[in-house]
Every structure is written in C-alpha cells, then in structure tokens.
C-alpha cells in the first residue's frame, strides 16, 4: 500500500511539474508587453526598462521560470500589476464565491441524479427509466449558460420569484444566499446531474445483475436492503471516480455561469485579468485551479483505496 501511495505521489508531482511548465509557457506567450501595459503609451524607454528589470522580464526564460516556481512554492503566486495586490490574495478572495457555487451545484446534482439513477436501474424500461435516460441525454447536450439565461427569463423576468443576478455570501445572509444561489446552482447542477445519472444507472444495473445480489434476494432480504446495503455501495465506486473528474468540469463551468449571474468569483477574476493582461493573476489562477483539480483527483484516488478493498489488496501485494 505504501509503495502504491508513493507511486501515486510521484505521478502527482510529475503532473504538477508539467502543468507548471504549460502555465508558464502560455502566460509568457500572451502578446503585448506587460511593462507597456502597466505604464501606458506615454512611458519612456528608461521607465520601461526599469519596470522590466523589476519584474524580472529581462532575465532568460529558464531563470524566470525557476524564480517563479521558487516563489510559488513559498506561497507567492505573483502580484497583480493592476491592483498591486498579491495574486493569491485576489484568488483566495474570489474562491469562496466559486466554492459556494460549486457546492450548491453539487447538492443540486446529487438531489437529481441519485433518485433518477437509482429508480431507473431498479425499474428498467419503466416510465421513470425512460424519463431519466432522456433527461441524461438532453442534459449532456444542454449549454449550461443558455439554461441559466432561460431560467432567468422564466423565474426572474416572467414570474419574478427569484433575483436575475447578484451574489450573497451564505455566511453573511443564509436566506438571501439561498435565493441568489438557486438559479446558478440549478443551472450548473443539471450539467453535472446528467452524466452522473447515466453512471449511477449503468453502475447499479451492472451490480444488480451479479450473483451476490441474487443470493441476497434468494436469502429473502427485503428489496430495500438489497439495493441500499448491498448494491448501492458497490455501484458508488464508479460514481466516486466520475465525481472527481466532474468536479474539474464544474470548476470550469462556474467560470461561464459566474458571468451569466454576475458572481464575483474566480471566473470573473480570470476574465478581467485576461482583458487587462494582468499576467500575474492569470498565471496564478490557472495554476491554482489546475493544481486544485489534480489534488481533488488524488484525493479521489485515496478515497477509492478506502472504499474498494480489492485495490487495497492489490496495492498491498
């Protein structure tokens, strides 16, 4: 088991290393001189040279990368050249907004996918099964930003039940936050619920056809117990894997949905940074989100190890 963990850790470190090179390269390739962007068109060549020196832009690329990595490892993700604040401060300021959206969407997705996936697997070919399969097919193809706009049209502009945009922190105003979070959470939650329903249904169908489930039924166990205790536990394994992967998609989706509902999260911060050519912040955000995604998948791997004794056994052997 220890050797499995070490090999996963080495893989994790390697992915992070390549990821950092990709982020660094992308941001260095962004057209436009950041020094010129900072000082404007009136800047003298001397002032430009001085700023470039201060920012380390006059150094060779490998030296710039080494310095950047050294800073990142020390928790310094760079500085915003627009607001002069540390990039990490800006990211951590916007992160709770994005996390609130992701968490609320996650809850919505689970509330939809679990009953839909379970019931369609228990009653295959029933109207519930057909309904949830159709939902999953439609949901995968649905552009979430369009769904959000349509929900605003219906629930905010027509029925006037919910606000069309705006963000309230759940810590500051729980009830207000519920009202402002509902539409964005449903928008993003449906996008996650669609693939989740599919996975849960197929996972449950696979497990329900296995011998040990037939044995459990033959022993006279109540159907609820067979499904809840015996089948669901094993079907959840495949769902845990897909949840880890989908969390990254959820983080990406939140960038667009924050724009639709005017939430000041990581998505809005990154778009503003790109428009202002704020290298430090763009670099920080991309690295931060990607590292977070890799970390989540690493955590899912560990969770999988805990949930599935077969992997534990193989890893130990």
């Amino acid at each position: 088991m220890a050797s499995y963990l070490v090999s996963r850790l080495i893989q994790f470190a390697l992915v992070l290393f390549f990821l950092s090179i990709i982020v660094f390269t992308i941001v260095r390739l962004i057209p436009g001189d950041p020094a010129a962007v900072m000082l404007g068109t009136e800047a003298t060549p001397q002032a430009l040279a001085q700023i470039r020196q201060e920012m380390g832009l006059d150094q060779p690329i490998p030296v710039q990368y080494a310095k950047w990595i050294e800073n990142v490892l020390a928790g310094n993700f760079g500085t915003s050249w627009v607001s002069k604040k540390p990039a990490l401060t800006l990211i951590l300021g916007a992160l709770p907004v994005t996390l609130q959206l992701v968490a609320a969407s996650f809850v919505v997705a689970l509330l939809i996918a679990f009953p839909a996936g379970l019931f369609s697997a228990i009653r295959p070919r029933s109207w519930i099964d057909q309904g949830s399969t159709t939902f999953a097919l439609l949901g995968i193809s649905l552009p979430s930003f369009w769904l959000g706009i349509m929900l605003v049209l219906l629930f905010s502009l027509e029925l006037r039940w919910l606000p069309p945009s705006g963000y309230l922190s759940v810590a500051a105003d729980p009830l207000g936050a519920l009202r402002t979070s509902l539409l964005p959470a449903v928008t993003l939650g449906v996008a996650l619920a669609a693939p989740l329903t599919r996975f849960l249904r197929s996972g449950m169908l696979d497990v329900l056809g296995l011998d040990y489930v037939r044995t459990a039924r033959a022993k006279g166990l109540a159907e609820r117990r067979v499904v809840g205790r015996h089948a669901l536990k094993n079907a959840l394994l495949s769902v845990v894997t897909i949840l880890g992967l989908q969390l990254g998609t959820l983080l990406g989706g939140s960038i667009v949905i924050e724009q639709v509902f005017g939430w000041p999260g990581i998505g809005r911060l990154s778009l503003a940074a790109i428009q202002q050519r704020d290298y430090g912040v763009v670099q920080g955000i991309v690295l931060f989100v990607a590292a977070l995604f890799v970390l989540i998948n690493f955590a899912v791997d560990l969770l999988y190890l805990y949930l599935d004794p077969r992997i534990r056994y193989r890893a130990g052997g």
Binding site: I21, F145, T249, L251, I255, Q259, A290
Partner: protein, 294 residues
C-alpha cells in the same frame, strides 16, 4: 509485402455498421438532423431569407412573425438568417478543431503506445497535465495568448481536445500490439512504421471515430462558451455564442433572440451526441472481433 494488417473487411463491415446505426431511433434522428444542419450550412446563401448582415433599422427587435420567422435583432437583422449562417461557423469550428485534435492526438497516442518506455511516459505525463486543466479554463488561457478570432478558436479547442484522442489511441495500440496478427505481420518482415500505420492504426479507428463524433458536439459547446465570453468569434460574424451573449443583454425586450440562438446550439449538440452514441453502439468492439474472425 506483409498482409497481416488486413483484418477488417470494410466492404462487409460498413453495411453492418450502417444497418445497426439506422436501427436506433435516436441515432437516426441524430443522423438526419446532422445532415440537415450540414446542408443548411453549405447552402446558407440560398436557404436563408436574408443576408446575415442585412440591416433593417425600422424593423429593430421585431417579435417572430411571417416576415421574420424567429424575430429580428436590434439592427433589424433577421435572426433566422444569422442562425443559419452561424451553423457554418459552429460546424466549421467543430470539425476543424476535432480534425486538429485527432491528427495530433492519434499520432501522439500511436507513438506512445507503439514505442513505450520513456517516450510513452513523457507523452502521457504531458497529456495528463493538459487534462488537469478544466477544458474551458485552458481554452480561455489559450485564447488570451492567441487573440480572439475564428481560426484561433479552432486551434485552442483543437489543443484542449488532443489528450482524449491520445489516450484512446494509446490504450488501443497497447492491447493490439501483442496480438497475433501484429506478430504475424512483424514475422513477415513488416517494419515499425508499417506495423504502426498499416497494421495497428486501422484497427484503432472505431473508438477514434466515436470520439470524433462526440468531440465535434463538445467543440461546438466550447466555441459557443468562448464566443459568449467575448473571446471567440468576433461580431459582426454570426456566431451562436456571441448572439446568445448579445441576446442576454436584451432579454427583457427581445427574449426570442437568446432563446433561439441557444436552441440552435442545443439542438446541434444533441444531434451530434445522438449520432455519436449510435456510432458507439454500431462500432462495438465485440462486433469488430466477429468481423476479425470472419
């Protein structure tokens, strides 16, 4: 010349695939709709009632009517015509981006799977690193580097779609590499390039085709998202994503604008996903193994 590569008789396999595809109602629906979309895109100048940039100032923000079937925008341009011309943009971005991704991803997957060792390790770690980014975030970062335009959207979406093709190709090459027909071709004197391109690659095509058909739908969604954020195709070129973004700002006055622009994206992606799902069923590996044995 070694003949070990000819394991699938396509003359016999293709009708079987088409038959299976046509038996599925959803796949048939997807196929018909996809064909209609391609026809609409190709013949847009003859099908669309107006030119996409034809301005009628007195008909600004008209609701759907006999004159403007899907209404008009703030400049009095016909929304239906813009959606029909927008299909050109979406389908072009989708197919070219996936073409780029397939060419690069299949090559990388083939090299990684066939050579193995350090080359495999290096290629797959870079692919893992690319997969570590949420796709839309990487696309946004690439668009910031390349600048917003139609061509750059194709390149950015192509790059983010490479890892999926590389992984699928590599996985198939790894399993095929050890099979008897490859061994036979090698024993008959087939060189590395011949084995990779003529013997192994044709046998990896089914999952690649399925990935491509599903990938086009996804590419269209990403392009629409990029254009919606103002980073993709730039106005006045009609793009469904930028039309949706503009329609959103007019939601109170002209709800039909955002509704129909988004509906066009939804129906197109749905059709391509139905078709992709149908292809997946038709090109099932078990079916291929039957053909291989035949």
């Amino acid at each position: 010349m070694p003949t070990g590569g000819r394991v699938i008789d396509t003359t016999e396999g293709l009708p079987k695939v088409v038959r299976t595809l046509l038996q599925s109602r959803t796949a048939l629906f997807g196929l018909v709709l996809s064909v209609l979309l391609v026809v609409a895109a190709v013949f847009a100048p003859w099908i669309a009632p107006y030119r996409p940039d034809e301005i009628h100032p007195i008909d600004s923000l008209m609701a759907p009517s006999a004159r403007y079937w899907l209404g008009s925008d703030d400049l009095g341009r016909d929304i239906l015509s813009r959606i029909i011309f927008g299909a050109r943009v979406s389908l072009m971005v989708g197919t070219i981006a996936i073409g780029i991704a397939a060419a690069a991803g299949v090559s990388l997957g083939l090299v990684a799977g066939f050579l193995g060792g350090r080359v495999d390790g290096l290629i797959m770690r870079v692919m893992d690193a690319l997969l570590a980014f949420p796709a839309i975030l990487l696309a946004i970062a690439l668009m910031a580097v390349l600048g917003p335009s139609l061509e750059n959207a194709m390149i950015a979406i192509g790059i983010i779609s490479i890892p999926a093709f590389a992984r699928i190709t590599r996985a198939n090459v790894l399993s095929l590499r050890e099979q008897e027909f490859v061994e036979a071709a090698r024993a008959l004197g087939g060189g590395g390039l011949y084995l990779a391109l003529v013997v192994i690659l044709p046998n990896c095509l089914s999952p690649i085709i399925v990935q491509a058909s599903l990938g086009v739908g996804n590419a269209i969604l990403v392009e629409a998202a990029l254009s919606f954020l103002g980073l993709g195709v730039q106005p006045p070129e009609p793009s469904w994503g930028s039309m949706l973004a503009f329609g959103r700002s007019l939601l109170g006055q002209a709800p039909w604008y955002a509704t129909f622009s988004g509906l066009a994206i939804f129906v197109t992606v749905l059709a391509l996903n139905f078709l992709g799902d149908g292809l997946r069923e038709a090109l099932d590996p078990r079916l291929r193994s039957v053909e291989r044995g035949a």
